[in-house]
Protein backbone atom coordinates (compact mmCIF):
# COMPACT_ATOMS: atom_id res chain seq x y z
CA UNK A 1 0.00 0.00 0.00
CA UNK A 2 3.00 2.29 0.58
CA UNK A 3 3.82 1.98 -3.12
CA UNK A 4 0.34 3.15 -4.10
CA UNK A 5 0.73 6.32 -2.09
CA UNK A 6 3.74 7.46 -4.15
CA UNK A 7 2.74 10.47 -6.27
CA UNK A 8 6.03 12.28 -6.90
CA UNK A 9 6.93 11.63 -10.61
CA UNK A 10 10.59 10.94 -9.73
CA UNK A 11 9.64 8.41 -7.09
CA UNK A 12 7.02 6.88 -9.38
CA UNK A 13 9.72 6.14 -11.95
CA UNK A 14 11.90 4.44 -9.35
CA UNK A 15 9.01 2.39 -7.92
CA UNK A 16 7.83 1.51 -11.41
CA UNK A 17 11.31 0.47 -12.49
CA UNK A 18 12.10 -1.64 -9.44
CA UNK A 19 8.54 -2.99 -9.24
CA UNK A 20 8.66 -4.18 -12.84
CA UNK A 21 12.16 -5.63 -12.46
CA UNK A 22 11.11 -7.33 -9.21
CA UNK A 23 7.96 -8.85 -10.75
CA UNK A 24 9.94 -9.97 -13.76
CA UNK A 25 12.62 -11.56 -11.58
CA UNK A 26 9.96 -13.37 -9.55
CA UNK A 27 8.23 -14.63 -12.69
CA UNK A 28 11.45 -15.81 -14.32
CA UNK A 29 12.46 -17.45 -11.03
CA UNK A 30 9.14 -19.26 -10.91
CA UNK A 31 9.45 -20.48 -14.51
CA UNK A 32 13.03 -21.69 -13.97
CA UNK A 33 11.97 -23.44 -10.76
CA UNK A 34 9.09 -25.22 -12.54
CA UNK A 35 11.32 -26.36 -15.40
CA UNK A 36 14.07 -27.67 -13.10
CA UNK A 37 11.62 -29.26 -10.69
CA UNK A 38 9.90 -31.08 -13.52
CA UNK A 39 13.21 -32.32 -14.93
CA UNK A 40 14.06 -33.66 -11.48
CA UNK A 41 10.70 -35.44 -11.24
CA UNK A 42 11.15 -36.93 -14.70
CA UNK A 43 14.65 -38.15 -13.85
CA UNK A 44 13.25 -39.79 -10.73
CA UNK A 45 10.40 -41.43 -12.68
CA UNK A 46 12.81 -42.70 -15.32
CA UNK A 47 15.04 -44.15 -12.60
CA UNK A 48 12.05 -45.85 -10.98
CA UNK A 49 10.94 -47.21 -14.34
CA UNK A 50 14.42 -48.57 -15.04
CA UNK A 51 14.54 -50.20 -11.61
CA UNK A 52 11.18 -51.84 -12.20
CA UNK A 53 12.28 -53.09 -15.60
CA UNK A 54 15.47 -54.51 -14.08
CA UNK A 55 13.44 -56.22 -11.40
CA UNK A 56 11.11 -57.72 -13.99
CA UNK A 57 14.07 -58.86 -16.05
CA UNK A 58 15.55 -60.58 -12.99
CA UNK A 59 12.23 -62.30 -12.28
CA UNK A 60 11.87 -63.36 -15.89
CA UNK A 61 15.42 -64.76 -15.96
CA UNK A 62 14.81 -66.56 -12.68
CA UNK A 63 11.63 -68.18 -13.93
CA UNK A 64 13.32 -69.24 -17.20
CA UNK A 65 16.30 -70.66 -15.31
CA UNK A 66 14.00 -72.51 -12.93
CA UNK A 67 12.03 -73.96 -15.83
CA UNK A 68 15.26 -75.11 -17.45
CA UNK A 69 16.46 -76.66 -14.18
CA UNK A 70 13.13 -78.46 -13.82
CA UNK A 71 13.41 -79.80 -17.37
CA UNK A 72 16.98 -80.93 -16.74
CA UNK A 73 15.91 -82.68 -13.56
CA UNK A 74 13.10 -84.52 -15.36
CA UNK A 75 15.45 -85.38 -18.23
CA UNK A 76 18.05 -86.65 -15.75
CA UNK A 77 15.43 -88.71 -13.86
CA UNK A 78 14.22 -90.27 -17.10
CA UNK A 79 17.69 -90.81 -18.52
CA UNK A 80 19.47 -92.02 -15.38
CA UNK A 81 16.69 -93.99 -13.71
CA UNK A 82 13.99 -95.00 -16.18
CA UNK A 83 16.42 -95.59 -19.09
CA UNK A 84 18.68 -98.18 -17.36
CA UNK A 85 15.67 -99.88 -15.75
CA UNK A 86 13.96 -100.37 -19.10
CA UNK A 87 17.25 -101.45 -20.71
CA UNK A 88 17.69 -104.08 -17.99
CA UNK A 89 14.11 -105.28 -18.47
CA UNK A 90 14.82 -105.57 -22.17
CA UNK A 91 17.90 -107.69 -21.41
CA UNK A 92 15.78 -110.12 -19.42
CA UNK A 93 13.30 -110.32 -22.27
CA UNK A 94 15.81 -110.75 -25.10
CA UNK A 95 15.28 -113.09 -28.06
CA UNK A 96 17.34 -115.80 -26.40
CA UNK A 97 14.67 -116.22 -23.73
CA UNK A 98 12.77 -118.81 -25.77
CA UNK A 99 15.85 -121.05 -25.91
CA UNK A 100 16.25 -121.12 -22.11
CA UNK A 101 14.74 -123.67 -19.80
CA UNK A 102 11.33 -123.00 -18.29
CA UNK A 103 12.50 -122.12 -14.74
CA UNK A 104 15.09 -119.62 -16.08
CA UNK A 105 12.42 -118.19 -18.39
CA UNK A 106 10.05 -117.70 -15.43
CA UNK A 107 12.83 -116.12 -13.35
CA UNK A 108 13.69 -113.71 -16.20
CA UNK A 109 10.04 -112.75 -16.69
CA UNK A 110 9.63 -112.22 -12.94
CA UNK A 111 12.75 -110.02 -12.84
CA UNK A 112 11.56 -108.05 -15.89
CA UNK A 113 8.15 -107.59 -14.24
CA UNK A 114 9.83 -106.32 -11.06
CA UNK A 115 11.89 -103.85 -13.05
CA UNK A 116 8.86 -102.65 -15.01
CA UNK A 117 6.98 -102.15 -11.71
CA UNK A 118 9.91 -100.09 -10.41
CA UNK A 119 9.87 -98.05 -13.62
CA UNK A 120 6.13 -97.45 -13.28
CA UNK A 121 6.68 -96.28 -9.71
CA UNK A 122 9.50 -94.02 -10.84
CA UNK A 123 7.40 -92.45 -13.57
CA UNK A 124 4.55 -92.00 -11.07
CA UNK A 125 6.95 -90.19 -8.75
CA UNK A 126 8.11 -87.92 -11.54
CA UNK A 127 4.54 -87.23 -12.57
CA UNK A 128 3.53 -86.56 -8.94
CA UNK A 129 6.36 -84.11 -8.52
CA UNK A 130 5.08 -82.28 -11.60
CA UNK A 131 1.47 -82.22 -10.44
CA UNK A 132 0.64 -83.73 -7.05
CA UNK A 133 -2.55 -85.82 -7.44
CA UNK A 134 -3.71 -84.93 -3.92
CA UNK A 135 -3.68 -81.27 -4.87
CA UNK A 136 -5.62 -81.89 -8.06
CA UNK A 137 -8.21 -84.18 -6.47
CA UNK A 138 -8.57 -82.95 -2.90
CA UNK A 139 -7.24 -79.40 -2.90
CA UNK A 140 -4.59 -77.29 -1.24
CA UNK A 141 -5.38 -78.26 2.34
CA UNK A 142 -4.95 -82.00 1.68
CA UNK A 143 -1.86 -81.48 -0.47
CA UNK A 144 -0.17 -79.32 2.18
CA UNK A 145 -1.12 -81.75 4.96
CA UNK A 146 0.25 -84.58 2.83
CA UNK A 147 3.51 -82.73 2.23
CA UNK A 148 3.94 -81.94 5.92
CA UNK A 149 3.13 -85.53 6.93
CA UNK A 150 5.81 -86.78 4.55
CA UNK A 151 8.36 -84.37 6.06
CA UNK A 152 7.36 -85.36 9.58
CA UNK A 153 7.41 -89.03 8.59
CA UNK A 154 11.02 -88.75 7.45
CA UNK A 155 11.93 -88.05 11.09
CA UNK A 156 14.27 -85.21 10.27
CA UNK A 157 11.89 -82.48 11.37
CA UNK A 158 8.62 -81.95 13.17
CA UNK A 159 6.19 -80.52 10.61
CA UNK A 160 2.52 -79.67 11.11
CA UNK A 161 -0.13 -77.69 9.27
CA UNK A 162 -3.52 -76.34 10.19
CA UNK A 163 -6.12 -74.74 7.91
CA UNK A 164 -8.55 -72.65 9.95
CA UNK A 165 -10.85 -71.33 7.25
CA UNK A 166 -10.66 -73.17 3.95
CA UNK A 167 -14.22 -74.29 3.25
CA UNK A 168 -14.25 -72.97 -0.29
CA UNK A 169 -11.43 -74.11 -2.52
CA UNK A 170 -9.52 -71.56 -4.55
CA UNK A 171 -9.27 -71.96 -8.32
CA UNK A 172 -7.15 -75.00 -9.28
CA UNK A 173 -4.39 -72.93 -10.94
CA UNK A 174 -4.19 -70.59 -7.95
CA UNK A 175 -3.99 -73.54 -5.56
CA UNK A 176 -1.10 -74.90 -7.62
CA UNK A 177 0.74 -71.57 -7.46
CA UNK A 178 0.28 -71.34 -3.69
CA UNK A 179 1.33 -74.95 -3.26
CA UNK A 180 4.50 -74.35 -5.30
CA UNK A 181 5.31 -71.30 -3.19
CA UNK A 182 4.82 -73.34 0.01
CA UNK A 183 6.95 -76.14 -1.45
CA UNK A 184 9.72 -73.70 -2.30
CA UNK A 185 9.61 -72.13 1.17
CA UNK A 186 9.61 -75.52 2.89
CA UNK A 187 12.48 -76.63 0.64
CA UNK A 188 14.47 -73.56 1.63
CA UNK A 189 13.77 -74.19 5.31
CA UNK A 190 14.84 -77.84 4.96
CA UNK A 191 18.00 -76.92 3.04
CA UNK A 192 19.25 -73.81 4.83
CA UNK A 193 17.61 -73.24 8.19
CA UNK A 194 18.59 -76.23 10.29
CA UNK A 195 15.17 -75.93 11.98
CA UNK A 196 13.70 -78.55 14.28
CA UNK A 197 10.09 -77.74 13.46
CA UNK A 198 7.91 -76.06 10.82
CA UNK A 199 4.35 -75.08 11.47
CA UNK A 200 1.94 -73.80 8.82
CA UNK A 201 -1.34 -72.04 9.54
CA UNK A 202 -3.98 -70.76 7.16
CA UNK A 203 -6.42 -67.98 7.98
CA UNK A 204 -8.69 -65.45 6.33
CA UNK A 205 -9.53 -61.93 7.37
CA UNK A 206 -12.06 -59.95 5.34
CA UNK A 207 -11.08 -60.31 1.72
CA UNK A 208 -7.53 -61.39 2.60
CA UNK A 209 -6.21 -64.94 2.62
CA UNK A 210 -3.14 -65.63 4.81
CA UNK A 211 -0.72 -68.49 5.02
CA UNK A 212 1.92 -68.31 7.73
CA UNK A 213 4.95 -70.52 8.22
CA UNK A 214 6.86 -70.63 11.51
CA UNK A 215 10.19 -72.31 12.04
CA UNK A 216 12.89 -72.20 14.69
CA UNK A 217 15.92 -72.35 12.42
CA UNK A 218 18.03 -69.77 10.66
CA UNK A 219 15.78 -67.59 8.52
CA UNK A 220 15.74 -64.39 6.56
CA UNK A 221 14.07 -61.02 7.18
CA UNK A 222 12.31 -58.75 4.70
CA UNK A 223 15.53 -56.77 4.16
CA UNK A 224 17.43 -59.94 3.26
CA UNK A 225 14.61 -60.97 0.95
CA UNK A 226 14.64 -57.61 -0.84
CA UNK A 227 18.43 -57.73 -1.19
CA UNK A 228 18.38 -61.30 -2.53
CA UNK A 229 15.61 -60.37 -4.93
CA UNK A 230 17.72 -57.60 -6.42
CA UNK A 231 20.86 -59.72 -6.68
CA UNK A 232 21.63 -62.51 -9.09
CA UNK A 233 21.44 -65.19 -6.38
CA UNK A 234 18.29 -66.46 -4.67
CA UNK A 235 16.66 -68.08 -7.67
CA UNK A 236 14.00 -69.79 -5.55
CA UNK A 237 13.01 -66.52 -3.87
CA UNK A 238 12.69 -64.78 -7.22
CA UNK A 239 10.53 -67.61 -8.37
CA UNK A 240 8.30 -67.16 -5.31
CA UNK A 241 8.07 -63.46 -6.06
CA UNK A 242 7.13 -63.99 -9.71
CA UNK A 243 4.54 -66.65 -8.80
CA UNK A 244 2.94 -64.37 -6.20
CA UNK A 245 2.91 -61.51 -8.67
CA UNK A 246 0.51 -63.55 -10.81
CA UNK A 247 -1.88 -63.71 -7.84
CA UNK A 248 -1.27 -60.06 -6.82
CA UNK A 249 -0.01 -61.54 -3.56
CA UNK A 250 2.58 -60.34 -1.06
CA UNK A 251 5.13 -62.12 1.06
CA UNK A 252 6.67 -60.95 4.34
CA UNK A 253 9.71 -62.40 6.07
CA UNK A 254 10.18 -61.43 9.70
CA UNK A 255 11.60 -62.55 13.01
CA UNK A 256 9.12 -63.30 15.77
CA UNK A 257 8.69 -60.81 18.62
CA UNK A 258 10.35 -63.36 20.93
CA UNK A 259 13.34 -63.45 18.51
CA UNK A 260 13.13 -67.26 18.62
CA UNK A 261 11.17 -68.01 15.46
CA UNK A 262 11.14 -66.83 11.90
CA UNK A 263 7.80 -66.11 10.27
CA UNK A 264 6.92 -66.09 6.60
CA UNK A 265 3.50 -64.68 5.77
CA UNK A 266 1.86 -64.98 2.38
CA UNK A 267 -0.96 -62.52 1.88
CA UNK A 268 -3.40 -62.90 -1.00
CA UNK A 269 -6.53 -61.08 -2.04
CA UNK A 270 -9.48 -63.44 -2.49
CA UNK A 271 -10.33 -64.38 -6.04
CA UNK A 272 -13.22 -61.99 -6.78
CA UNK A 273 -11.16 -59.04 -5.63
CA UNK A 274 -8.22 -60.44 -7.53
CA UNK A 275 -10.24 -60.43 -10.76
CA UNK A 276 -11.22 -56.84 -10.13
CA UNK A 277 -7.56 -55.92 -9.60
CA UNK A 278 -6.62 -57.61 -12.86
CA UNK A 279 -9.37 -55.75 -14.75
CA UNK A 280 -8.06 -52.46 -13.36
Amino acid sequence: MIFLEVTNPGNVSIVLFFGTIGMLALTIGLIVFIIFHQRKVIRYQTKLQRMEQDQQKLLLNASIRLQEEERQRIAADLHDDAGPLLATARLYLNENLVNLDKSTQLQSIYNAKQIIDDTIQLIRNISHSLMPPTLKNFGLESAVNDLFQKISGSGSMNASSRFHDYKERLQAENELIIFRVIQELVNNILKHSNASFIHLTQNTSGNKFFIRLHHDGRGITQNDFNKLNKSNVGLGLKNIQSRLKVLHGKIFFEKDMSQTYYKVTIELVKEEDNKLAEQE
Binding site: F3, L4, V6, T7, P9, V12, V15, L16, G19, T20, M23, L24, L26, T27, I28, L30, I31, I34, I35, H37, Q38, R39, I42, Q45, T46, Q49, E52, Q53, Q56, L59, L60, S63, S242, K245
Partner: protein, 211 residues
Protein backbone atom coordinates in the same frame (compact mmCIF):
# COMPACT_ATOMS: atom_id res chain seq x y z
CA UNK B 1 7.46 4.99 -32.04
CA UNK B 2 9.51 2.17 -33.57
CA UNK B 3 8.79 -0.14 -30.68
CA UNK B 4 5.06 0.73 -30.91
CA UNK B 5 5.03 -0.16 -34.61
CA UNK B 6 6.99 -3.32 -33.91
CA UNK B 7 4.47 -4.26 -31.23
CA UNK B 8 1.62 -3.70 -33.68
CA UNK B 9 3.41 -5.79 -36.30
CA UNK B 10 4.06 -8.67 -33.89
CA UNK B 11 0.34 -8.74 -33.08
CA UNK B 12 -0.31 -9.96 -36.62
CA UNK B 13 2.21 -12.82 -36.38
CA UNK B 14 0.35 -15.12 -33.92
CA UNK B 15 -2.83 -14.73 -36.01
CA UNK B 16 -0.93 -15.72 -39.16
CA UNK B 17 0.84 -18.64 -37.47
CA UNK B 18 -2.39 -19.91 -35.93
CA UNK B 19 -4.06 -19.98 -39.33
CA UNK B 20 -1.02 -21.49 -41.10
CA UNK B 21 -0.69 -24.27 -38.50
CA UNK B 22 -4.41 -24.66 -37.92
CA UNK B 23 -4.18 -28.46 -37.71
CA UNK B 24 -1.57 -28.34 -34.94
CA UNK B 25 -3.55 -25.87 -32.91
CA UNK B 26 -6.98 -27.46 -32.90
CA UNK B 27 -8.77 -28.98 -29.94
CA UNK B 28 -6.88 -27.48 -27.02
CA UNK B 29 -8.76 -24.26 -26.36
CA UNK B 30 -6.16 -22.36 -28.38
CA UNK B 31 -8.94 -20.77 -30.42
CA UNK B 32 -9.53 -18.54 -27.36
CA UNK B 33 -5.97 -17.25 -27.71
CA UNK B 34 -6.55 -16.73 -31.42
CA UNK B 35 -9.61 -14.59 -30.58
CA UNK B 36 -7.52 -12.78 -27.98
CA UNK B 37 -4.87 -11.96 -30.62
CA UNK B 38 -7.56 -10.62 -32.98
CA UNK B 39 -9.01 -8.55 -30.12
CA UNK B 40 -5.55 -7.11 -29.40
CA UNK B 41 -4.99 -6.14 -33.01
CA UNK B 42 -8.45 -4.58 -33.46
CA UNK B 43 -8.14 -2.66 -30.18
CA UNK B 44 -4.75 -1.23 -31.13
CA UNK B 45 -6.06 -0.13 -34.54
CA UNK B 46 -9.25 1.38 -33.03
CA UNK B 47 -7.35 3.06 -30.18
CA UNK B 48 -5.01 4.57 -32.75
CA UNK B 49 -7.98 5.99 -34.68
CA UNK B 50 -10.40 7.20 -31.96
CA UNK B 51 -8.20 7.51 -28.82
CA UNK B 52 -11.35 7.06 -26.65
CA UNK B 53 -10.62 5.71 -23.12
CA UNK B 54 -13.78 3.58 -23.33
CA UNK B 55 -12.09 1.39 -25.92
CA UNK B 56 -9.42 0.43 -23.36
CA UNK B 57 -12.10 -0.28 -20.74
CA UNK B 58 -14.05 -2.50 -23.14
CA UNK B 59 -10.82 -4.17 -24.22
CA UNK B 60 -9.91 -4.83 -20.61
CA UNK B 61 -13.25 -6.55 -19.91
CA UNK B 62 -13.09 -8.61 -23.10
CA UNK B 63 -9.45 -9.51 -22.50
CA UNK B 64 -10.24 -10.67 -18.99
CA UNK B 65 -13.22 -12.68 -20.27
CA UNK B 66 -11.10 -14.49 -22.85
CA UNK B 67 -8.27 -15.24 -20.41
CA UNK B 68 -10.76 -16.48 -17.81
CA UNK B 69 -12.35 -18.69 -20.46
CA UNK B 70 -8.92 -20.03 -21.46
CA UNK B 71 -8.13 -20.73 -17.79
CA UNK B 72 -11.50 -22.40 -17.28
CA UNK B 73 -10.94 -24.64 -20.34
CA UNK B 74 -7.36 -25.45 -19.33
CA UNK B 75 -7.87 -26.24 -15.65
CA UNK B 76 -8.29 -29.99 -15.26
CA UNK B 77 -8.99 -30.31 -11.56
CA UNK B 78 -12.71 -29.84 -10.97
CA UNK B 79 -12.29 -28.12 -7.62
CA UNK B 80 -10.16 -25.39 -9.23
CA UNK B 81 -12.58 -24.75 -12.10
CA UNK B 82 -14.74 -22.42 -10.07
CA UNK B 83 -11.81 -20.02 -9.45
CA UNK B 84 -11.94 -18.25 -12.88
CA UNK B 85 -15.76 -18.11 -12.66
CA UNK B 86 -15.75 -16.42 -9.25
CA UNK B 87 -12.85 -14.19 -10.35
CA UNK B 88 -14.78 -13.13 -13.45
CA UNK B 89 -17.92 -12.24 -11.45
CA UNK B 90 -15.91 -10.12 -8.98
CA UNK B 91 -14.00 -8.46 -11.79
CA UNK B 92 -17.13 -7.62 -13.84
CA UNK B 93 -18.80 -5.96 -10.86
CA UNK B 94 -15.75 -3.78 -10.19
CA UNK B 95 -14.95 -3.06 -13.85
CA UNK B 96 -18.54 -2.06 -14.71
CA UNK B 97 -18.75 0.18 -11.63
CA UNK B 98 -15.51 1.92 -12.66
CA UNK B 99 -16.47 2.15 -16.34
CA UNK B 100 -16.04 5.75 -17.51
CA UNK B 101 -15.25 7.34 -20.80
CA UNK B 102 -13.12 10.01 -19.18
CA UNK B 103 -9.75 8.44 -18.53
CA UNK B 104 -7.81 5.19 -18.58
CA UNK B 105 -9.22 2.94 -15.81
CA UNK B 106 -5.97 2.05 -14.13
CA UNK B 107 -7.66 0.27 -11.24
CA UNK B 108 -9.62 -2.24 -13.37
CA UNK B 109 -6.64 -3.02 -15.59
CA UNK B 110 -4.41 -3.58 -12.54
CA UNK B 111 -7.12 -5.70 -10.97
CA UNK B 112 -7.27 -7.84 -14.13
CA UNK B 113 -3.50 -8.38 -13.89
CA UNK B 114 -3.79 -9.26 -10.20
CA UNK B 115 -6.43 -11.88 -11.07
CA UNK B 116 -4.66 -13.26 -14.13
CA UNK B 117 -1.25 -13.79 -12.47
CA UNK B 118 -2.64 -16.35 -9.94
CA UNK B 119 -4.59 -18.05 -12.78
CA UNK B 120 -1.29 -18.49 -14.61
CA UNK B 121 0.43 -19.82 -11.48
CA UNK B 122 -2.46 -22.25 -10.97
CA UNK B 123 -2.23 -23.42 -14.58
CA UNK B 124 1.54 -23.85 -14.28
CA UNK B 125 1.05 -25.84 -11.10
CA UNK B 126 -1.36 -28.13 -12.93
CA UNK B 127 1.04 -28.50 -15.86
CA UNK B 128 3.82 -29.34 -13.44
CA UNK B 129 1.75 -32.12 -11.89
CA UNK B 130 0.41 -33.47 -15.17
CA UNK B 131 2.05 -36.85 -15.77
CA UNK B 132 0.95 -36.80 -19.42
CA UNK B 133 3.47 -34.05 -20.12
CA UNK B 134 7.04 -35.21 -20.53
CA UNK B 135 8.73 -31.81 -20.52
CA UNK B 136 6.61 -28.85 -19.61
CA UNK B 137 8.20 -26.74 -22.36
CA UNK B 138 7.06 -29.26 -25.00
CA UNK B 139 3.51 -28.19 -24.26
CA UNK B 140 1.78 -25.42 -26.24
CA UNK B 141 -0.21 -24.14 -23.30
CA UNK B 142 2.93 -23.76 -21.22
CA UNK B 143 4.22 -21.09 -23.64
CA UNK B 144 0.88 -19.31 -23.61
CA UNK B 145 0.75 -19.27 -19.81
CA UNK B 146 4.34 -18.02 -19.69
CA UNK B 147 3.43 -15.28 -22.19
CA UNK B 148 0.55 -14.09 -19.99
CA UNK B 149 2.55 -14.40 -16.81
CA UNK B 150 5.46 -12.34 -18.15
CA UNK B 151 3.17 -9.76 -19.75
CA UNK B 152 0.91 -9.19 -16.76
CA UNK B 153 3.68 -9.26 -14.15
CA UNK B 154 5.84 -6.99 -16.28
CA UNK B 155 3.10 -4.41 -16.83
CA UNK B 156 1.42 -4.64 -13.40
CA UNK B 157 3.30 -1.69 -11.89
CA UNK B 158 2.89 0.33 -15.09
CA UNK B 159 -0.91 -0.08 -14.93
CA UNK B 160 -1.03 0.65 -11.20
CA UNK B 161 0.81 3.98 -11.66
CA UNK B 162 -0.62 4.89 -15.07
CA UNK B 163 -3.04 7.50 -13.70
CA UNK B 164 -0.42 9.05 -11.41
CA UNK B 165 2.02 9.61 -14.28
CA UNK B 166 2.09 13.04 -15.95
CA UNK B 167 0.22 13.08 -19.29
CA UNK B 168 3.35 13.92 -21.32
CA UNK B 169 5.37 11.05 -19.80
CA UNK B 170 2.79 8.32 -20.35
CA UNK B 171 3.84 7.56 -23.90
CA UNK B 172 7.44 7.11 -22.69
CA UNK B 173 6.40 4.64 -20.04
CA UNK B 174 4.10 2.90 -22.52
CA UNK B 175 7.31 1.47 -24.05
CA UNK B 176 7.31 -1.05 -21.16
CA UNK B 177 3.89 -2.25 -22.31
CA UNK B 178 5.07 -2.44 -25.93
CA UNK B 179 8.15 -4.42 -24.94
CA UNK B 180 6.12 -7.00 -23.03
CA UNK B 181 3.52 -7.03 -25.81
CA UNK B 182 6.25 -8.03 -28.27
CA UNK B 183 7.53 -10.69 -25.86
CA UNK B 184 4.01 -12.05 -25.40
CA UNK B 185 3.39 -12.22 -29.14
CA UNK B 186 6.70 -14.01 -29.74
CA UNK B 187 5.78 -16.59 -27.09
CA UNK B 188 2.33 -17.01 -28.69
CA UNK B 189 4.06 -17.61 -32.02
CA UNK B 190 6.26 -20.31 -30.44
CA UNK B 191 3.14 -21.96 -29.02
CA UNK B 192 1.33 -21.90 -32.36
CA UNK B 193 4.33 -23.08 -34.39
CA UNK B 194 5.40 -25.99 -32.17
CA UNK B 195 4.15 -29.49 -32.89
CA UNK B 196 1.25 -31.04 -31.00
CA UNK B 197 1.98 -32.11 -27.45
CA UNK B 198 3.83 -35.44 -27.41
CA UNK B 199 3.13 -38.25 -24.93
CA UNK B 200 5.97 -38.97 -22.51
CA UNK B 201 8.03 -42.05 -23.30
CA UNK B 202 7.45 -43.62 -19.89
CA UNK B 203 3.72 -43.69 -20.62
CA UNK B 204 4.07 -45.22 -24.06
CA UNK B 205 6.75 -47.77 -23.08
CA UNK B 206 5.51 -51.20 -22.14
CA UNK B 207 6.18 -51.32 -18.43
CA UNK B 208 4.65 -54.70 -17.84
CA UNK B 209 6.08 -57.31 -20.17
CA UNK B 210 4.25 -60.60 -20.01
CA UNK B 211 6.26 -62.81 -17.69
Amino acid sequence: MVIALLALFTEILPIVFYLVFLKRNGGEGLWVIFLYCILNLLTDILAGITKAPAIMDCYNIMQFTLISLFSYLSIKEKKFKYIPIIGAVVFYVIAIRNFTNIRFDSFSVSLASIFIIPYCILLLYEKMRDSNIEFVYNNKKFWIIIAFLLYFSGTLFLYIYMNTLPEQQRSNYWTINNFFEILKNILFCIAFIMKKNAQPSYLTDNLDPDI
